[in-house]
Each structure stands twice: as C-alpha cells, then as structure tokens.
C-alpha cells in the first residue's frame, strides 16, 4: 500500500528520534514547540481566571487547550509524527489513547449515572426499614 512510497526507507525511527536534521533545525523545532506550549499554557491560565468569556464554555476551552498542548509536546518534543517511518510509534500511541479514553470516559459516565440514580441516604434508609 504505502510500501511503494517509501521503499527507500531503511527502518522506522525510534520514538523521540528525528529524521536527519542539522543541529540548527533541531533547536528551531524545540524553540517553536516551547513557544507554542507557553502560549497555550498562558491562554489556559488566562481563560480560567477571566470574566471576559461565557462562563459555561470555560471547562470545554480548558480541555481543548490541554489536548492541543499535549499534541504540541508530542510533535515538537517527542517527535511523534505522521511520517511512514513513525507508524509503529503512532499505532502504539493510538492504542494507549483508546485505553485512556475508555478508562476516563467510562468512569465519569458510569459514576455520574450512579450518583443520579441513587436516592439520598435518608430516603434510602426509610425505604429499607
């Protein structure tokens, strides 16, 4: 499938390794990553403490900013890219993310429903005495 495209590629690259770049290019990558990460962090802290935006949107905004910043870290610091030589690393990451979303999403979903369906304790005791 994509074998044709990269028949010349000798091996995958290790997570954290970059394709052949000069030192200057590599440093630039880290500087760009640091700049983006600082920008996203500053936005997060600003949004959390401001009255300028619609309040109910703040939790969603914080989560979106956090996910964006994690993406920046993955690309610029861990060098996980979509390149063909990175397939194994990306697939492992995808599986890890699947488990993370199942654990966090499933827990929050189920526990919220349990809370909702559970009558307050005093009612519960009256019902069973």
């Amino acid at each position: 499938m994509s074998d044709q495209a990269h028949a010349h590629v000798e091996h995958d690259i290790a997570p954290g390794d970059e394709e052949q770049h000069s030192v200057g290019e590599r440093i630039t990558g880290y500087v760009v990553g640091l700049g983006l990460a600082l920008l996203l962090t500053a936005t997060s802290f600003f949004i959390a403490g401001t009255n300028l935006v619609w309040q109910p949107s703040i939790p969603i905004a914080l989560i979106v900013l956090a996910i964006a910043q994690m993406g920046v870290h993955l690309v610029f610091f861990l060098h996980i890219t979509t390149g063909p030589d990175n397939t194994n690393n990306v697939l492992a990451l995808a599986f890890g993310l699947l488990v993370v979303f199942l654990v966090v999403g499933g827990t929050v979903w189920i526990m919220a429903h349990l809370n909702q369906n559970m009558p307050p304790m005093d009612q519960f005791i009256r019902m069973h005495s």
């Binding site: 290790a14 500087v31 654990v103």
Partner: protein, 213 residues
C-alpha cells in the same frame, strides 16, 4: 514496517506491485529500546488515567472539608508549569548535545533541567506540607485523597526522573557518549517529556478546572 525480519524472500512482493521492498533485517537496538520504552510510557499514562478518573469522580466529595478553589494557589501552579516546560526544553537541548557529543552543552542542559525539576519539587512539597499542617491532609476527604494521590504520583515520577538525570550525567562523565549511554539518554528524554505531558493534564484538570468550580 521493518520491526521484524520475518518476511522472507518469497513474500517480498506479495501483491505483485512491481516494487520489491528489501527488508533490511532486525531494527537497530536504538529503535527497539526506544520503542519498548515508549510502550512502557504509554502504560504509565494509562495508569495515570486511572488516577485522573478517580479524581474526576471524587472532586466534589469534600466531606464538608475545603473545596479545590479554597486551597489551590494559581500563582504557584503557574510557576511550577513554567519550570517543567522550560526543563522539557533544556532536556531537549541536552539530548541534541548528546547526539553531537558536546560535553559542555550536555552538562549545562542537564544541570538546568535538574535545577528546574528541583524547583518544581520544592514548590510542590511546600504546597503539600502547607495543606497537611492546616489539617487538610489526604485523610480529610475523598477529594483530598484523590488530589494527593494524583499530584503526588506525578511528583514521585519527577523525583525518580531527577535521580535518573543525575545518573545519566555521572554515566556520561565516567563512560563518555557510548552507544548504550546514548540509548539510556534517549529513554530519559522520552520519560521527562512524557512527565510534562502528564503535568499538562494535571494543571488543566486539577488546578484550573477544579479551582474554578
């Protein structure tokens, strides 16, 4: 694609597309080591996700104790975040220096990383000590239990990272930039960057989301 060498000559062109892909044999040790460590890091992240899930469920269960917004100090969290972010950057500089075998920049990058990590740990330790001395220890409420275990677990990882960092400096000092030392250095850099990713989740979910509620 080329992690294993099980593909024999007969299957070199299974779909008869006319391009024979030469499989160059087992991947070099550097790739195998880093890939294995990457899988470990992902499982570590899965473990953290359980702590995050516990915190999300228990964040409201304060048992008439303090709420998150009453005990979190955003200024300290911002300093911690900047420390960890800068240390991730200097760690990247140190790994570039290691790749080009420049001792001076390697030691400088690692030292700055170490100092920033220690500042982070000191601020976190002070925060914990303050909370415990005010009677808001982990046994006060389910919320505080979840808070201390999640943030404390991250702090333990950072402490382990600082010890590993010092070990790497000692190994480069004693053994030089040997291939095995460089492999360990790469794993350390992955570990340190992954800790920063987890911290992004911690400050967003615990301190910013929890502090606003």
């Amino acid at each position: 694609m080329a992690m294993t060498a099980t593909v024999g000559q007969a299957r070199a062109d299974p779909h008869h597309i006319g391009v024979v892909v030469e499989h160059p044999g087992p991947a070099p040790k550097r790739i195998v080591t880093a890939y294995g460590f990457w899988v470990f890091l992902l499982s570590d992240i899965v473990m953290f996700s359980c702590f995050f899930a516990a915190y999300a469920v228990l964040a409201g269960q304060t048992a008439d104790g303090p709420k998150g917004s009453e005990i979190f100090e955003q200024r300290n969290v911002a300093i911690e975040t900047v420390c960890l972010l800068l240390s991730s950057f200097t760690c990247g500089m140190a790994s570039i220096a290691a790749d080009v075998r420049n001792r001076f920049w390697f030691y400088l990058g690692m030292t700055v990383t170490c100092v920033l990590g220690l500042i982070f740990l000191a601020i976190e330790f002070k925060e914990f000590a303050d909370l415990v001395s005010r009677g808001y220890g982990p046994s006060r409420s389910a919320f505080l239990t979840a808070f201390f275990s999640l943030v404390g677990c991250h702090g333990l990882h950072v402490s382990a990272g600082v010890l590993w960092l010092l070990t790497m400096m000692a190994q480069v000092f004693a053994k030089g930039f040997r291939a095995d030392v460089l492999r360990r250095m790469m794993c350390f850099a992955l570990f340190w960057h992954a800790l920063d990713i987890i911290w992004v989740g911690v400050f967003s979910v615990v301190y910013l989301l929890g502090g606003g509620a």
